[in-house]
């Protein structure tokens, strides 16, 4: 048997991939102090080209690197002078060899395929949703930016030298870099392609004057303009963070019926003067309002406007009375439990006639919300119990004629 080949865990690609890579690219663009990208304008693109030349076209002649004029030269004479004086001779002429970058002043409409189809009217598009917090209010801002404007900028990178071998080296570096037709520079995190258009020799041929080689490499930078002034920031939906302060820490409790339908019981202690009590959220279904365990009658003892949070009594309850409001905050009489099953609520009344302590409901009881005898709330397990799927049994004997009220989920 031949020796099995070992598995090699060679990581070919060391960078991030897929979503992580996209996030990495986005982070590069927005590594500034805001969520928006920085402006990319003409000067940024020029700087990107200049940096590209400085970093990629390093050519060594006679053991020394051929200097690149550190700025893009323009018409201003003093600017040209100040940026070349340190590589100039006593006559003020730039010593050979050197490399210069000259930009053509005319910037043309872009030909970058990814930006060529232009959306009219500078329409804004969603860029990011950014959460905001002003100390009291939580919200979000919607950042919108228009499509970048594609531009083509032409640069002429010129090498001047006196040796043929320097030309060869420079040419080799450029052609190797642009063997795939285009290379990329980075402008504020954006990858911007550069295309090599042409190479031409402009060496002056004159026997009676100074001799040097002069070659122009013409590049087109397929850039785009992003202007911060065009960005649009608008507030989105704001959420108000409401805080309700309760005097008693145990005023508010939640009761879980059947462990999966959330029914809230809000408890208050009356101060003898207040008639209005708020539960701090909309009451979808109001089950019972009790004072000291006695169920109150709606529109007689108290008033409630549907889907509001307040209960108003016709007169203030006595001081230190325990007020209990039992409600469900859903907006219909159909309850959805945590498993997604619909539940319904029903209220039925019976009259004790002295014969049987058991009563049969119309629906199968899932859980009892409230049970009262003549309006006095009873506790399950103490005064009644659910004895079957539709049966309730009293654990004590009430007076004949007692009205029994039960509200239950089914």
């Amino acid at each position: 048997m031949a020796r099995p080949k070992k598995k090699n865990d060679i990581s070919v690609y060391h960078g991030n991939e897929l979503v992580e890579r996209r996030q990495e690219l986005l982070d590069k663009i927005t590594k500034g102090d805001s969520f928006l990208p920085d402006s990319v304008l003409h000067d940024d693109l020029d700087l990107g080209m200049l940096d590209f030349v400085k970093n990629n076209f390093k050519t060594v002649s006679g053991g020394e690197e051929i200097p690149v004029i550190p700025k893009i030269l323009t018409l201003q004479r003093w600017g040209e002078f100040t940026n070349t004086w340190d590589i100039s001779d006593l006559d003020g002429n730039i010593k050979l060899p050197f490399i210069s970058v000259v930009r053509r002043p005319d910037v043309q409409p872009g030909t970058n395929p990814s930006l060529q189809r232009t959306i009219p009217d500078r329409q804004q598009f969603h860029y990011a949703s950014v959460p905001t917090w002003n100390g009291t209010q939580m919200g979000a801002d919607i950042y919108r930016i228009p499509q970048p404007v594609a531009v083509d900028i032409t640069y002429e990178v010129t090498i001047l030298c006196t040796r043929f071998r320097d030309l060869n080296k420079f040419n080799q570096i450029v052609l190797q870099k642009f063997s795939s037709r285009q290379a990329y520079t980075t402008v504020k995190g954006h990858y911007v392609p550069i295309v090599l258009d042409s190479i031409e020799d402009n060496t002056p041929v004159d026997i009676e004057s100074r001799r040097f080689y002069l070659q122009n490499y013409k590049f087109t930078l397929l850039g785009f303009l992003i202007d911060e002034e065009e960005f649009d920031i608008k507030p989105a939906v704001s959420r108000l963070f409401l805080m309700n302060e309760f005097i008693n820490s145990n005023n508010y409790e939640k009761k879980f019926m059947t462990k999966n339908v959330e029914i809230t019981i809000a408890k208050y202690t009356s101060n003898g003067t207040d008639t209005v009590f708020s539960v701090g959220e909309s009451i979808g279904i109001l089950f019972t309002v009790e004072i000291n365990g006695i169920v109150q009658t709606r529109d007689v003892d108290f008033f409630h406007v549907g889907y509001t949070s307040k209960i108003s009594f016709s007169s203030p309850p006595r001081e230190n009375s325990q007020i209990s409001i039992k409600y469900y905050k859903g907006k219909s009489n159909v309850y959805i439990d945590s498993s997604g099953n619909p539940r319904q609520v029903s209220t039925e009344t019976f009259t004790y006639d002295g014969t049987s302590l058991e009563f049969t409901t119309l629906n199968t009881i899932d859980s009892v919300v409230s049970f009262d005898l003549n309006g006095l709330t009873q506790q399950e397990g103490e005064s009644f119990e659910v004895s079957g799927r539709t049966n309730l049994r009293l654990l004590g004997t009430p007076r004949v004629g007692t009205i029994i009220g039960v509200t239950y989920l089914h």
Partner: protein, 170 residues
Amino acid sequence: MNKKVPITRLSKFFSNEDFDLNVQIGEEYLHGDLNMKLILYRVDSDSTDTDAVYAEVGKDQIKFYPPVEFNALVRVESPKNNNYKNGMVRYNEPGNLILSVYLKQLKDLGIDLKYGDFIGYPETEEKVRYYTVSNDGKVTSDNKHNMFGFKPYYRTITCVPAQEVEFRGV
């Protein structure tokens, strides 16, 4: 070239003695009165290692014979304001150096000025400008370089300014 042909033209009006006298008077004026001195740096092409393909040399790699001082009538042309590309990267090109040298002096010194040799001309006490010979003026057959049509007596040598990368003195 050992055979010599006697020049007998113009013999009724001009002779070798007259020719030598005129040259002597001219040298007296040029070397004595004007006394314009230059330094010739002759390239030792035999000792200089050149590139195998392009016959180029790197900076400061040219070998020279010992420099020789000589006299000449010097004329420096006006500098030219120029640019490398579309008005950008301007340079002020010094004018060419045009020398007139007596053939007799070159013969006396045992030197020749060749295409590509370097010449230093001290403009001031501190500044020597270097030129390279672009036209060594060896062809002196024209009337201008012949004394009354008798014999050539001087050479006109054109030199262009040398780049520092080419030559910066020995």
